[in-house]
Amino acid sequence: MSFTRSYQSVVLVKQVPDTRNVSGNVMTADGTMNRSALPAIFNPEDLNALEMALSIKDQYGGSVTVLSMGPFQAAEVLRQALFRGADRVVLLSDRKFAGADTQATSYVLKCAIDKLGEYDFVFCGQQAIDGDTAQVGPQVAEKLGIPQITYAEAIIDLLEGEIVVRRAFDLGTELVRCQLPCLLTVVSTANKPRPPSARKRIEFKMAAIPHEYPRLLNQWVEFRDEQALAKYLEQRKLNIEVWGAADLDIIETNLGLAGSPTQVYKVNYVVLETTDSKDIQPTPEGIQALITELVQEYIVG
């Protein structure tokens, strides 16, 4: 019997506003955006990344640890990860992380991955739908000093210390072989992410970060106080860890706004309008007049 090893994976996920479905009530009359009107969701391609990590675990054994950097509300995507089969989840949250660009964000993620210890893979989505930069993955890989495989669509082969991956672009594919550990950024065509499992939904229903304990206490009146609740959750490993700057081996000047080389100079809300416009009647005469005008103005040859 051939010896097959198991693999330890880290998945980086982000909670994002659902910018794909911006409707009327999101853009206000003065052209600004009402962000609270946008639902917060699991970044779609991060689900593809999680699925790829979980399928490696299904096939070879090992573990899947999910990290997310964000405000306390991002604990929700970590619960979603537990419902789908993650073994361990950690929220990276600290006021000091706020205002981070991709450089400062990838630095925190790198420090957190270092703290986790040994790993074979880091997975993330190809890009997040709020920023669309696709920069954090490669920047984490560089800071960890490991190779990266962006646009990863399929794992073709996984041998002892090497992986063969198919990369997918709009206009073609590439097959690469890479040493482990490595970082993969996963595209949406990679797989169909599994839904939350009903059993795990029940098992991890109460998984929470300490910030959420007061809300849980209201729901679960049988606990006397937060301490009793905390003890109960810890015993069942339902306490979602939260790491701040103090929990990481970190240089504080690299964090947040101060650690971000890019600064936002200004933001303009998009108001598209044309001053030169006319109504055309959907009648044979109206259309004929339009075509005549277009020909006269050399727009139609």
């Binding site: 853009m27 490669p138 416009s277 959907p282």
Partner: protein, 340 residues
């Protein structure tokens, strides 16, 4: 060197073919360098690619940094990073631009991370201007304004990198105009040696299959694009017929692509192609901001939509409120009669 404020362009080549976006960036780079009173320097990596240098110079490069090595024949993140970081550290560019192609989007963030500099992805405009830091009121002269859409195209942000150099940005293909080559333009070629380290070969490319785009949306003078309002094969055929009569291409909104009427290559918008044809006909497209972001620079826009309040009408030069199934045949008929 650092006070030269040179503008660097990464020249992407695949099998001896320079990417269109690299030539577009040479045009934009020349404009920025002119404003700064500096030069355009190009970085060209590959193996036996020296004959491409001429083309790079004709498009505006004053100096070409040429890194040739068998290990650079096929693009790989780590080998290209090594080569580029070495030349950047030796010559300290002020600005460094790359195409937001699969290669540029893989390479630029890795380089920015290694150099600990700021990078802005997918810029739609680049300008030079001053910036006053809100933190300490320091005034930074002649920074690169990096303009890009964010939040799914709902906002346009202007980003600056006040302190770190080079100021890095990627730009999508088709967004910047490409000038005609100037065959009298002179430039210098500087060959650079690359010292690889063993870890640079952690990844091998086993095979690579790229196909030519079957649709050339970006070069087409006329685009007839279909949206959710075109909801049958028959109506879609009308769109194709109109496009062919006008000598144009068929475009689509995400809704039409998702509905399966047409392939993703035809998609116009923030996650598709950015186009600026002479004439854009939007058939049954409501005008989600993501779509508008990819076509609002078109010279003339005709919008056909059943809903008089559709956002597309806000940017249309000709508004036709009506059913595409009725309006498209009228347009086709009128055009046929003109042709007689």
């Amino acid at each position: 060197m650092s006070d030269q404020r040179n503008v660097w362009i990464f020249i992407e080549q695949e099998e001896h073919q320079i990417a269109g976006v690299s030539l577009e960036l040479l045009s934009k780079g020349s404009e920025i360098a002119h404003r700064l009173g500096s030069q355009v320097w190009a970085v060209l990596c590959g193996w036996q690619v020296e004959d491409l240098v001429e083309q790079v110079i004709w498009h505006g490069a004053d100096r070409v940094m040429l890194a040739e090595h068998p290990e650079l024949q096929v693009y790989r993140t780590l080998t290209y990073c090594r080569a580029i970081i070495q030349v950047v550290q030796a010559s300290k560019p002020y600005i460094f631009l790359m195409g937001a192609t699969p290669v540029g989007r893989d390479l630029a963030p890795r380089i920015a991370s290694a150099l600990k500099v700021g990078l802005t992805a997918d810029c739609t405009d680049l300008l030079i201007g001053d910036y006053t830091s809100k933190k300490d009121n320091t005034v930074y002269k002649d920074l690169l304004y990096q303009v890009r859409p964010a939040f799914g195209g709902n906002i346009i942000a202007t980003i600056v990198n006040p302190k770190t150099r080079p100021q890095m940005a990627t730009v999508r293909e088709g967004v910047m105009r490409c000038n005609q080559p100037d065959y009298t333009h002179q430039g210098v070629v500087e060959k650079v040696d690359v010292a690889f380290e063993s870890g640079d070969f952690a990844l091998q490319v086993l095979s690579r299959e790229l196909r030519e785009p079957t649709v050339k949306l970006m070069d087409s003078p006329v685009i007839v694009a279909a949206g959710a309002g075109v909801d049958s094969r028959e109506e879609f055929e009308l769109v194709r017929e109109l496009a062919s009569l006008l000598g144009g291409e068929v475009g689509a909104s995400r809704a039409a692509v998702d509905a399966g009427f047409i392939s993703r290559e035809h998609q116009v918008g923030q996650t598709g192609s950015t186009v600026r044809p002479r004439l854009y006909i939007a058939a049954g497209i409501s005008g989600a901001i993501q779509h508008l972001a990819g076509m609002d620079q078109s010279n003339k826009i005709i919008a056909i939509n059943i809903d008089p309040h559709a956002p597309i009408f806000q940017i249309a030069n000709y508004r036709i409120v009506g059913d595409v199934a009725e309006v498209l045949p009228l347009l086709i008929k009128s055009l046929r009669e003109k042709a007689k």
